[in-house]
């Protein structure tokens, strides 16, 4: 029985934290937040992250990747959440995973080594923001189901589409089957319009992607089960980003409450605050366990993996909402200023909460999985 990170995973965690502390502290994040027209990645940060191989954590070693599992990807993503770090790391992880899982040998050889070297950045457009969690690709139609096809449709809030060399798009077949598949889109192709969409969460850049008869390459292994699995993996990464945000929000709040004095003593000594934060730690600890377990369950193909994904995302969404709300509240007036960093955490949490299915959607799915299959 070992339900904990092992030595190597803990080492990876320290390495990611160290790099973030050195190269993406909050004042660097602030430069991204305060320059919404910029590309959204601090100068030099991507090169350093890519140099460590983190965007290619899931890419097999034969293509130059780290060849590790979703659990290691979750370790990295959780640290990125804790640092509200800007950049297309998770998008590249999932994009690379799509090519690894569903791409032809030729597509893999074309894209994976570049991704591993940090030359290539990917974006993924799997799930329209308000779509049902289990309906990836519902707003894009693919005409032609051979190697080449034409995509038409629109999908909003695609993370880092403006930086991507290729975008992995989920689309439904434009025929009676309406079967979902995966396509590789070159953003420079005729018929692609990518429009930057500013979001409250200014640590992340998003775009609306409009496709009009765009010629795209099919990822031949992108059957519905594979698409669903990719959505699950992306969901687990979002959950772990949220858990990281929640932990950082709590830690930063506790640090503040230890030093901020009112009525002649640190306000952290007041039970009104202590008890709320104790409860928050309980919920957060549970979300942390659930976030690791979902990643592990997908890696190990455990029978309850589908449930574990929804448990992790629902719990992480709720806890991150609470943690970041308390962060603002307990910082008082300063916490409601642009100058303070509370809003980085709060807004990123609220965006990710609604990404890849919110808590209500995932609870509905848990109910469907547990109640509607009568033994």
């Amino acid at each position: 029985m070992e339900f904990a990170l092992d030595e190597e995973q803990l080492g990876l965690q320290s390495a990611v934290r160290d790099l973030i502390a050195a190269h993406s502290p909050l004042d660097v994040v602030r430069t991204v937040v305060d320059s919404p027209q910029s590309d959204g990645v601090p100068a030099g940060l991507w090169a350093r992250i890519a140099d460590q191989g983190w965007p290619a954590v899931l890419i097999p070693q034969e293509y130059g990747g780290l060849g590790l599992g979703l659990l290691e990807a979750a370790v990295i993503t959780r640290c990125l959440g804790a640092g509200v770090v800007p950049g297309p790391v998770a998008a590249s992880m999932i994009g690379g995973e799509a090519i690894r899982r569903a791409g032809s040998a030729e597509q893999q050889a074309t894209w994976l080594p570049g991704l591993a070297e940090g030359r290539i950045r990917l974006a993924v457009a799997l799930l329209r923001p308000s779509a049902a969690w289990d309906r990836p690709g519902d707003s894009v139609k693919a005409a032609g189901q051979t190697a080449e096809g034409k995509l038409t449709g629109e999908i909003g809030q695609v993370e880092y589409a403006h930086l991507a060399d290729r975008i992995v798009v989920a689309a439904e077949a434009d025929d009676a089957t309406a079967e979902v598949g995966l396509w590789l889109v070159d953003p420079a192709s005729t018929g692609v319009t990518s429009t930057r969409t500013p979001t409250l969460d200014a640590t992340t850049r998003t775009s609306t992607l409009t496709l009009t008869g765009v010629e795209a390459e099919r990822l031949p292994g992108g059957d519905p089960a594979t698409v669903a699995d990719l959505v699950s993996r992306a969901t687990v990464l979002a959950a772990n980003d949220l858990v990281g945000i929640a932990r950082a929000a709590l830690t930063r709040t506790v640090d503040y409450l230890r030093t901020r004095e009112q009525f002649g003593k640190p306000i952290g000594s007041f039970q009104a605050l202590k008890h709320q934060l104790a409860d928050l730690l309980v919920g957060l600890t549970m979300a942390e366990h659930a976030g690791w377990y979902a990643a592990h369950a997908l890696d190990a193909q455990l029978p309850d993996a589908a449930l574990a994904v929804s448990v992790a995302k629902a719990k992480a969404s709720d806890v991150a909402r609470l943690a970041t709300a308390r962060m603002i509240q307990y910082h008082g007036g300063i916490g409601y200023t642009w100058e303070h960093e509370t809003h980085f955490f709060f807004k990123r949490a609220r965006r990710l909460e609604q990404t890849y299915g919110d808590a209500v959607q995932h609870r509905a799915r848990i109910a469907a999985l547990t109640l509607d299959r009568v033994p």
Binding site: M1, E2, F3, A4, L5, D6, L71, L250, V254, L257, R258, K265, P266, G268, S269, Q271, L273, K274, H275, L277, A278, D279, L281, V282, T285, M286, A287, H289, A290, W292, Y293, H296, A300, L302, L307, A308, V311, A314, K315, V360, H362, R363, A364, I366, A367, T370, L371
Partner: protein, 395 residues
């Protein structure tokens, strides 16, 4: 990560499961069975059953063999708790003795105490209760007033203990008693091991909110306790109490998880056969959300238990984690009780012999869950501990 148990642990599980299959009568396995039984009779049957379990080598799982234990791993103790709950086996009648007193005696007891206490406790020949709370010493435990005055080879004890679980069935009590002078209230206490059958001791039942008589008051009037019945150094009772309570640390909540999971399954089953707003409650989206939330909290509790178990097996210091664990399971259990009332609707009020066993069992769990955020350190005390010791907030 590896969520499987070792071959030896699984072998243990198989042996225990086989024994339980033969020794737990089928009717005991029916959900809600015990809540219907006469308390005194049920106590005796549980006591005997547990003694048979000990005789079969399935008690004291992680105790050293020199004390009559099995010498098993922490994982085997967790498996034991899980399998008992899964089999619908009765709950132990000697919780406080097994969880707290025995490990403390093993750690600091005299050779005579080890010999006289541990074996009979394991075999249920002696049932123990805990004498900590008093009318004016609840969360402020060190405020105990029950006094023991030295008279020759005895302490003469006067005072009152309250909320004493198992008081009516217990043979002995480990009690925090003020025996020595001290400037501060934590000083001058001793942990006395008191024979409740001796003169000058009166046990009165207290009826709980649920109607049961599971706890009571114990009055001491010139009760004489031999001086060699002190556990640990005389006057150092506070330290002994803290050591004793520390044995809650690292105890897995896997037993609670398994029992609560069974209750949730019963609530789900009830939701399938109960109408709510003109359709089965199970189809009501708000009920489905609540059931899903309970699933999330229980699954989190299961994973948390496995994490704690991992830490124990790796010999890591757990600190105040047990407070966090208790907050999670006790709150989840209350949420589960509330969900029962929502699913059952107004019928959750119906009680007595005509209510079917499952619904009656859930009703009992619903009421009992209200006590769980009070006993063993109230949730407010647990939150202070979590805030100060895990988060590092100032006192």
């Amino acid at each position: 990560m590896d969520l499987t148990y070792s071959e030896a642990d699984e072998q243990f599980r198989a042996e225990l499961r086989a024994w339980l299959a033969d020794s737990v009568p089928p009717q005991w396995r029916t959900f809600g069975y015990w809540s219907r039984q006469d308390p005194d009779q049920s106590f005796d049957r549980r006591r005997d059953w547990e003694a048979a379990k000990a005789a079969a080598g399935f008690s004291g799982i992680d105790w050293p063999t020199e004390f009559g234990g099995r010498g098993g791993t922490p994982a085997q103790k967790a498996i034991h708790d899980e399998e008992l709950a899964r089999a619908g086996a009765p709950l132990t009648v000697n919780t406080l003795g097994l969880t707290f007193l025995a490990p403390t005696v093993m750690a600091i007891g005299t050779e005579a105490q080890k010999r006289e206490i541990i074996g009979p406790l394991l075999r249920n020949e002696v049932i123990w209760c805990q004498g900590f709370s008093e009318p004016d010493a609840g969360s402020d435990l060190a405020a105990v007033r029950t006094r023991g005055v030295r008279d020759g080879d005895h302490y003469v004890v006067n005072g009152q203990k309250i909320w004493t679980s198992n008081a009516l069935h217990a043979d002995r009590m480990f009690a925090l008693v003020r025996t020595h002078p001290g400037e501060r209230k934590h000083q001058g206490l001793s942990m006395l091991l008191i024979d409740l059958h001796s003169p000058g001791i009166e046990v009165r039942p207290l009826r709980q909110l649920s109607g049961s008589l599971d706890f009571g008051e114990v009055f001491f009037t010139d009760a004489r306790v031999p001086v060699d019945s002190v556990l640990g150094p005389p006057g150092e009772g506070w330290k002994v109490a803290m050591l004793l309570l520390s044995f809650e640390r690292g105890s897995s909540a896997i037993g609670q998880y398994t029992a609560f999971r069974r209750e949730l399954d019963e609530v789900i089953s009830l939701a399938r056969r109960t109408e709510r707003g003109g359709r089965p409650a199970i189809e009501d989206p708000s009920i489905r959300q609540r059931i899903a939330q309970l699933h999330i909290e229980l699954e989190s509790l299961r994973l948390h238990s496995l994490h704690v178990l991992t830490q124990v097996e790796q010999g890591r210091e757990l600190g105040a984690t047990s407070s966090l664990t208790k907050l999670q399971w006790s709150q989840t259990h209350q949420d589960l009780g509330d969900l029962f009332t929502e699913v059952a609707g107004a019928d959750h009020q119906l009680t007595g012999d005509d209510v079917d066993a499952a619904r009656y069992g859930l009703q009992r769990a619903f009421l009992w869950s209200r006590s769980e955020t009070i006993w063993g350190g109230s949730s407010e005390v647990q939150r202070n501990i979590v805030a100060e010791q895990l988060l590092g907030l100032p006192r």
